[in-house]
Symmetry: C2
Subunit: 347 residues, 2 copies
Amino acid sequence: MGKARIGDVAALAGVSVATVSNVLNRPEKVTPPLVDRVRAAIDELQYVPHMPARQLRSGRSATIGISVLNAANPFFGEIVSAAELAAVGRDLSVMVGSSHESPTSQDKYLDVFEQFRFAGIIVTPVSQDLERLRRLHARGIPVVLVDQEDPTRVLPSVSGDHLAGGRLGGEHLVAAGCTRVTFVAGPLAVPQIAERLQGCEEAVGDHAGVELTVHSGPGMDIDLGRVAGEEILRLPASRRPDGVFAANDMQAIGIMQAFLAAGLRVPEDVRMLGYDDIAFAAVAAVPLTSIRQPSREIGRTAATLLMDPAAAQDVPAARVRYTPELVVRESTAGAGVARVGSPLPAG
Amino acid sequence: MGKARIGDVAALAGVSVATVSNVLNRPEKVTPPLVDRVRAAIDELQYVPHMPARQLRSGRSATIGISVLNAANPFFGEIVSAAELAAVGRDLSVMVGSSHESPTSQDKYLDVFEQFRFAGIIVTPVSQDLERLRRLHARGIPVVLVDQEDPTRVLPSVSGDHLAGGRLGGEHLVAAGCTRVTFVAGPLAVPQIAERLQGCEEAVGDHAGVELTVHSGPGMDIDLGRVAGEEILRLPASRRPDGVFAANDMQAIGIMQAFLAAGLRVPEDVRMLGYDDIAFAAVAAVPLTSIRQPSREIGRTAATLLMDPAAAQDVPAARVRYTPELVVRESTAGAGVARVGSPLPAG
């Protein structure tokens, strides 16, 4: 039991070892009846293909590991899908873990990626501590950052310009006439969030009479957005914001849900702005103004960089930075703001 | 280079082998200065922890593999998040792959899970061919199906009752007065889609004068929903449906986007119904009626079953089946239908 070797399988199936190997690794290259025969033999002998041994010979497994903040956020979902599409062309699989902004979780995923000798790692770091990633890179394991950059230019990166995006959003709310702006952040240890906030602060700081408050929280999903929205609703009306800039669209949608349920009107009572421009933003109850990041392009480029051996050697490392784009929709429309970019009638 | 062993790391760091092992596997149990010292030694010696060897000793790695149709669909995203939450309590990591309804992709993920000796597998199968999964289970690898059942009761499963859900949706559209219903399916090889369609057919078939057409497509995301919506819009007005039942909410949202952009009114011109009740359904441009499945409960229960050694031995296997719930919102409201369950004002 469990002691069968690949040669035993080949002998029982009456095929070569190479054919068994093909059935295990490239079944599409083997005719279906042969696949069935080999699988029956594998089954009968309870043969377990020994990846670790094969791996040590070839050095690396045919798998890319991705660690993102939250794969259920369509922004990261699109990045992952695009990376999958690029990887499948090179016969690589993609495995994804969600760190949920936790350094411990990220470390666990990196443990798995490293110990199984994955072919490469794409990661949205949970903090500015990139030491472990740089060490992996130094050992020859390809690493590409997404949604964040390495200030030392050791690690290649593909990301949006979060400072510019934060500025765009802040300027837009001020231009729309907001005087009490609340930036609803997730965990401020996440550098891209801190940068978006900094950009917003710079934009708002240029305007006397506009007040900026920060509402930080433990995470950035719809549920936590709803909680943030309810907290804002409990403020006395005089202290409530007339403009809300959420650090991502997931939060913005949760906040909007809380506001609308309480009878607040968007944009009449409060203008709202998200970040990422996920597909749901355009079809939200009130179509959501957002800062667009090209998620698919980011995922595709990250995978391409990862699989390009030349890119891994470049010093300084490749740094692909996308300029974000303001997409104005109903949620901030009104006095002083022309509504463009929305294919939808007003909600 | 690369020949260092764990004892060399321990000697250089001046700690025990057990401490090095803790730093590798349970760093939270080691003080930060010690972690730093051990990591510096690992770095200096370019030591690569040898998971395969350790794994063969312990039998299984501390990782659960999940293969779902599309991790970027919040329905599966929630299942995965809940499974992660349940697994982290047992010190297990969760790695996710998206099969995108492709048997080849699913097979590749199963190869990875099997070859790396993952502790268990949660899978939304792409088809009714469960033979390989039953073989893995027979070899002692825990396997739990989500969103689909094993008719032979060999594999445990956690899913909704798709036939009942399809019936609920079909009956609802008929009760709302629809006479030309289009069921927008994804790939009909996916059993849960075929079952939802069958339920809808049963419900509509009971009513003379109601016509049901099926619109099938290669996938079930927002983009493909938009494509399906545009195809429906190209039909002559007399052949256009007055009720659309989409096989999941992602598709429904894409279809709605196409309809609204073309000036069609929902629900006045066409009533729309999705499936899953993802969080976005309630905050869609027109809040979307949907068939609710308890995604978090499904993910949590699947992980719990997977980690329960007793459940793995049960014959017949555990089968947890949730009764779906119709959540009526604006997208199907109007004559004959009371609108309930929506916290939002009309879009």
